[in-house]
């Protein structure tokens, strides 16, 4: 089953085109990795999936992205609704500075004056923090502010915050690039466990990470998709010369 289908997607920053005619499908409840050298457009592609790209002044998108069977770039689709179905974890942890850990996790429910009972909130917070593998570490300090946590802990609370609203798709943009090896290991473990719950798209420029966590791999180069395939095929038997050169470390 395809969860997301991209058709003829192009994206620009001002007059600079950074995504060129992207066509790709992503399977439901699988982990897809997007790899490629720095600046090839991985982040931009990810930010097209939840319509974040268009928020940058001067940025523009053309083409179609189907989530299930709706084109999220259709005129009548509200980007806010798209973003409630597609969560995102950024490259750097970006918990809300002015909110406690607890309030950060529940932040997705503060919208539209959604009313939740205290018990229901506690339940959501615990479930999400457990899913993100950080419950034990923070359960006694839920009223602390994010600055009291390490970067790796903050990033896992970010994952919990994104999961709290039960998204269908989770976008992750190099979620471990700013973290130490142990935090990285924990987050990779979390990602593998989450596969049961959500469709995951993870950008990474760490090829070992892509090989470790993903089912499918997409290789991008200069704004284009060069090759898509199962992760084992891409890493053991790439069809394109460019892909082979990249995964064998000839450039990048």
């Amino acid at each position: 089953m395809d969860k997301i289908r991209v058709e003829n997607l192009n994206a620009w920053f001002g007059s600079m085109q950074v995504l060129k005619n992207i066509n790709v499908s992503l399977k439901e409840k699988k982990i897809s990795a997007i790899i490629g050298p720095s600046g090839c457009g991985k982040t931009t592609l990810l930010r097209c999936f939840n319509r974040l790209h268009e928020l940058v002044p001067g940025a523009r998108v053309e083409g179609k992205i189907f989530l299930d069977n709706t084109n999220i770039y259709e005129k009548e689709v509200d980007p806010v609704m798209v973003r409630r179905r597609i969560g995102m974890v950024f490259q750097r942890p970006n918990l809300f500075n002015h909110m406690s850990i607890y309030d950060n996790v529940i932040a997705g429910y503060l919208l539209n004056n959604t009313k939740l009972s205290k018990e229901r909130k506690d339940e959501i917070v615990e479930r999400s923090l457990r899913l993100a593998g950080i419950w034990e570490e923070v359960k006694n300090r839920l009223r602390d502010y994010p600055s009291a946590l390490s970067g790796g802990q903050q990033q896992r609370v970010c994952i919990a915050r994104a999961l709290a609203v039960e998204p269908e798709v989770l976008l992750m943009d190099e979620p471990t690039s700013a973290l130490d090896p142990i935090s990285t290991y924990r987050i990779e473990e979390t990602i593998r466990e989450l596969k049961e719950e959500v469709t995951i798209i993870i950008v990474t420029h760490n090829m070992q990470q892509a090989a470790r966590v993903s089912d499918e791999t997409i290789f991008m180069y200069m704004g284009e998709i060069i090759e898509v395939g199962s992760t084992s095929q891409i890493f053991t038997n790439p069809k394109q010369k460019l892909t082979e050169d990249y995964i064998t470390g000839k450039f990048g």
């Binding site: 939840n50 806010v80 409630r84 995102m88 809300f96 932040a107 609203v165």
Partner: protein, 302 residues
């Protein structure tokens, strides 16, 4: 060697300048205290609770002036604060990029207009408006409140409060705008990515992040209102009086000092005015200290 000497000289100058400023403030305080002494000795605590101001019998109570200063400043803050936040939000979050700079510039320009000009505007344009339009209108819709009793004269607490509010809007709004613009993009994007609307991002994320800074901006505005002299003196009515009604004329610490200093004859009168200045100094100092404390907490706390 040469560079070292330069460093030393520079360090010396810097140290001297900062010490100089601190000493200046300190001596100002001591000077005020010394001059106030006869008044402090004669009136003691009664200075702060007596309502009568009578140069003939040499009875001087500062309560009306302290009351007027506080009422007009708080009124100014109540009017200016929400407006300034609105302006700051508009410039930093909503205005098209081409409008941001000119708007900021105009607001800053408003802050550079001499207070005398605001006073003239207050006296010749605003006071008649308060007397004939704003006053009666407030009385019609809010006349049951004690604040809007009696007949609006034009000059008084309300007019002074409005003039002061216009004068502190530039301070509060440009500071707030800078604080809002300093909220990192990643905080906003985190909000959008969770499915927040633009308004939710502005209210819950941007303002939430900036709240202590905006609070400090408000306090700085309040400090400015407390110390404003010329414009307030022109529109306050200069009648030593304590009235809950905002339509009443009154006095402020600054207006009393301005009005009485020129003809201040005799040790005691001068000393009384000095003590008034000392009170203003202390109130302002306290408020500024509070503001600084909050700004520092914001910068260091995260």
């Amino acid at each position: 060697m040469k560079k070292n000497l330069g460093d030393k000289i520079f360090k010396g100058i810097a140290l001297f300048s900062s010490l100089f400023v601190i000493l200046l403030v300190f001596f100002l305080f001591v000077e005020l205290l010394i001059y106030s002494f006869p008044s402090i000795k004669k009136f003691g605590i009664y200075f702060f609770i007596d309502k009568i101001w009578d140069p003939v019998t040499e009875r001087y109570g500062a309560l009306p002036a302290i009351y007027g200063t506080i009422v007009t400043s708080i009124l100014a803050l109540l009017i200016a604060f929400p407006l300034s936040i609105g302006i700051a939000i508009f410039i930093s979050e909503l205005a098209p990029p081409a409008l941001k700079r000119p708007l900021s510039f105009i607001i800053e320009l408003l802050g550079a207009i001499p207070s005398l000009i605001y006073g003239m505007w207050g006296l010749f344009s605003l006071a008649p408006l308060v007397q004939l339009k704003i006053g009666p209108f407030l009385q019609r819709i809010l006349g049951f409140l004690p604040f809007f009793q009696g007949y609006p004269l034009g000059v008084g607490y309300l007019t002074a409060g409005i003039v002061l509010s216009v004068m502190i809007i530039p301070t509060i709004s440009s500071l707030s705008r800078e604080i809002l613009m300093a909220v990192p993009i990643d905080q906003r994007e985190a909000g959008y990515a969770l499915g927040m609307t633009k308004w939710e991002v502005i209210w819950k994320i941007v303002l939430g992040n900036a709240r202590s800074g905006i609070f400090a901006a408000g306090i700085l505005g309040l400090g400015r209102a407390l110390g404003e002299a010329v414009a307030v003196t022109m529109v306050i009515g200069n009648f030593p009086n304590i009235s809950v009604s905002l339509f009443s004329p009154g006095v402020t610490i600054t207006s009393v000092i301005i009005n009485e200093f020129a003809e201040a004859a005799g040790q005691l009168k001068i000393s009384v005015l000095m003590e008034l200045a000392l009170v203003l100094f202390l109130i302002t100092f306290l408020i500024m200290g509070l503001a600084r404390y909050y700004i520092l907490k914001r910068i260091e706390g995260r």
